[in-house]
Amino acid sequence: MTRTIHTISAVLLTLCACKQSGNTPTSDEIVLGIIADLTGATADVGKPYNEGMLAYIDDLNAKGGLKGRKINALSEDYAYKVPNAEEKYKKYKQAGAIAIQGWGTGDSEALRTKVKGDELPFMSASYAEVLTDPKQSPYNFVVAPTYSDQMRIALDQIAASDPGAQVAVFHHDSPFGMAPVADGEQWIKDKGYKLGYKDYAMKGGATDHVGLLQQAKDQGARFIVIQNVSSPAATVARDIAAQKLDMKIVCLNWCSDELFIKLAGAAAEGHWMIQPFTPLSVAKPGHAPVQAYGKAKGIDVEAKGLHFVQGWYTMHVMARGMEKVAADGKPLTGPNLRAALETMDAVDTGGVIGPVKFSADSHRGSLAAGVYKVDGGKIVEVAAAVAPKK
């Protein structure tokens, strides 16, 4: 018995000792923390996003880093759990990170006040409206149009196609899912659209959404805007096809991807997508560096999908901010990076995402998203860079 205790304490002590020696950054490196979802509820899209970020850093370091300084990107899984994200955040802060790349709406909101206190610029794949207002969130930066803006674009498109249609909003049952719901309703009022509008929460883990579709059918819905990830959205598409309903899905960015088509199969045909990041099936000049990296490393970036590109270019914007700090000859600190991101020229991503431009009054990086349609098992561009109507 005591031997076991001794062994256990010996192991624990060794671990504590290891932690001192492991992964200590050298003074020349720039430390950056990445909070990734590799095993959690959104891992299907979180993993390629994370791989895209690490690929960008790998590429940048191979090309000499930032003015000769390498970036040490610490990346750990938080399994989409807010307390884990807080733990990782503290770890990165301890390791001397000067900026953080987060992931979901829950963790971005939970860390919002902390990055403000610690003055660490924070980007994430959560495009919630509150994160774009520097008065409330001075250290959060949003590269893509917000969920609310995507919803506005979706409603503009629907109103143009069928002015009197009923719209049902199916959303994930969380702050992420709820984010655009109220703003969409307001948008219909502001623009004087004649659209009907009702929102429905999608239960997590549901194997079918026939019940929700029945309610939408009773509402008379012709369009279903989905603010959720691909797998449940694909289930809705399959249910629509099975029930032979005359409904069109309009996916906002987290279900507008190749996975939706793969999972829904033929049932995906004809549905619409609002996606700020151009998928690889629609060629843009900005895809070239990503594809070149994939070719050099033997990674099939087409198979990784557009979230890989999304991670790549989110990191690109962060790196451009760091470059600007270095170009101004200032020490690389959180406040300096924030100032650089606010004052740097618009970041051109070769058409992958609209030019990203921040200012001191707005951390809304871009307004426009692409409108796509699923045609022949592929994502086909309907209109590029569509912003919400003025």
């Binding site: 205790i5 671990l15 020696s21 590799l38 899984d77 307390p83 884990n84 939970a110 902390k114």
Partner: protein
């Protein structure tokens, strides 16, 4: 107790009632106090943050142990009660503008009341049926905090003012260390208070209910009073843990109070030892330490075994489950019992008993 002694003999009632009987127990207490006082000066902010989380979890685990371990009433509603404490304190401090200590005290009272209400079915239900009733309370509370727009003003989260009393505010630079002292003081008071409850008639009636409720009633224990006060007392502790979580993390969202949390706390008290205050603390410490220690291990062996390091995030989740299973199989009475056996071994050495 020296090796040649055959046991502890009391010659007065006072000595029987003492919390610590032997010189070595007192010596260990001194060592323990020295260790917790030295801790914030030895750890960096990251590990201190984990210790703080352990401190808060320990208070919640003590609360749950009062109900499950000492009174024998199973509860799956821990996450819900944590939420009640967190939201109450956040609203009282943030919206009503009460000083934070008062807001925390208010949260304790409100959660204790909520606990007593949820405890009502316990008067008629036992075992699995009670577990399901408390599960229902967890779901109801979760539903309310997700859907009641007034709570968060429709934002889905609630910002909490940082810790401060009478014009003094916690500084970002000394954040973890300041919180360490606050949590340590609160947890110490909570643990000593809980330890003492079980030396009173009320506390003993809890254990009588656990061991055999019909017999307890037959010898004059008021079952209604015992069960409801166990629920209220337990929930009061959990509310305290919830309120501390709210002010420590400075933000409250429903995502932190799901059923997973209830299960995790049950894991803590099983691993630590049902019916033991010290065990609650050991269990909280072990379950909160497993994931960061595993990730430290992943860092350490990243170069030697990158394959293993890649798989570690998944192993983290599994490890907690394995720990609970190992304890259920080999030492169902938890770390506390294990520690006692270690002490006995050395106490009786070189004899077996």
């Amino acid at each position: 107790m020296p090796g040649v002694a055959t046991g502890i003999y009391h010659t007065s009632y006072e000595s029987d009632l003492r919390l610590r009987h032997t010189r070595s127990e007192k010596a260990r207490l001194v060592l323990c106090i020295a260790a917790v006082l030295a801790l914030p000066f030895m750890l960096n902010n990251y590990w201190l943050g984990i210790v703080n989380a352990i401190g808060i979890a320990a208070i919640g685990a003590i609360g749950l142990n009062i109900l499950v371990g000492f009174t024998g009433q199973i509860s799956l509603g821990q996450g819900g009660f944590l939420a009640v404490g967190a939201f109450t304190s956040a609203l009282l401090a943030g919206r009503a503008g009460l000083p934070i200590p008062l807001a925390v005290a208010g949260a304790v009272v409100v959660t204790a009341t909520a606990g007593a209400v949820v405890g009502l079915p316990a008067l008629r239900l036992k075992g699995l049926y009670l577990a399901i009733a408390t599960l229902a309370s967890q779901e109801i509370i979760e539903f309310v905090i997700r859907r009641w727009h007034w709570l968060t003003g429709g934002q889905g989260y609630l910002e909490v003012p940082p810790l401060g009393v009478l014009g003094w505010h916690v500084q970002r630079t000394s954040f973890e260390r300041t919180w360490y002292w606050v949590i340590l003081a609160t947890a110490a008071v909570a643990a000593v208070a809980a330890r003492n409850v079980f030396r009173t008639a009320l506390g003993r009636s809890f254990m009588a209910v656990r061991d055999q409720d019909v017999a307890a009633q037959a010898i004059g224990v008021n079952l209604t009073r015992a069960k409801l006060s166990a629920f209220a007392l337990s929930s009061g502790y959990v509310g305290l843990a919830g309120a501390l979580t709210a002010h420590y993390t400075e933000i409250v969202t429903w995502e932190r109070f799901t059923l997973d949390v209830s299960v995790q706390y049950l894991g803590m008290i099983i691993v630590g030892g049902l019916g033991s205050i010290a065990g609650s603390i050991y269990g909280a410490a072990l379950l909160m330490l497993v994931p960061p220690l595993l990730s430290a291990l992943a860092d350490a062996i990243r170069d030697a075994a990158p394959f293993l390091a890649d798989q570690l995030p998944a192993l983290q989740v599994a490890a907690v489950g394995v720990v609970i299973m190992v304890f259920l199989l080999f030492e169902p009475r938890g770390l506390d019992r294990l520690w006692r056996r270690v002490k006995d071994y050395f106490g009786y050495w070189p004899f077996r008993y």
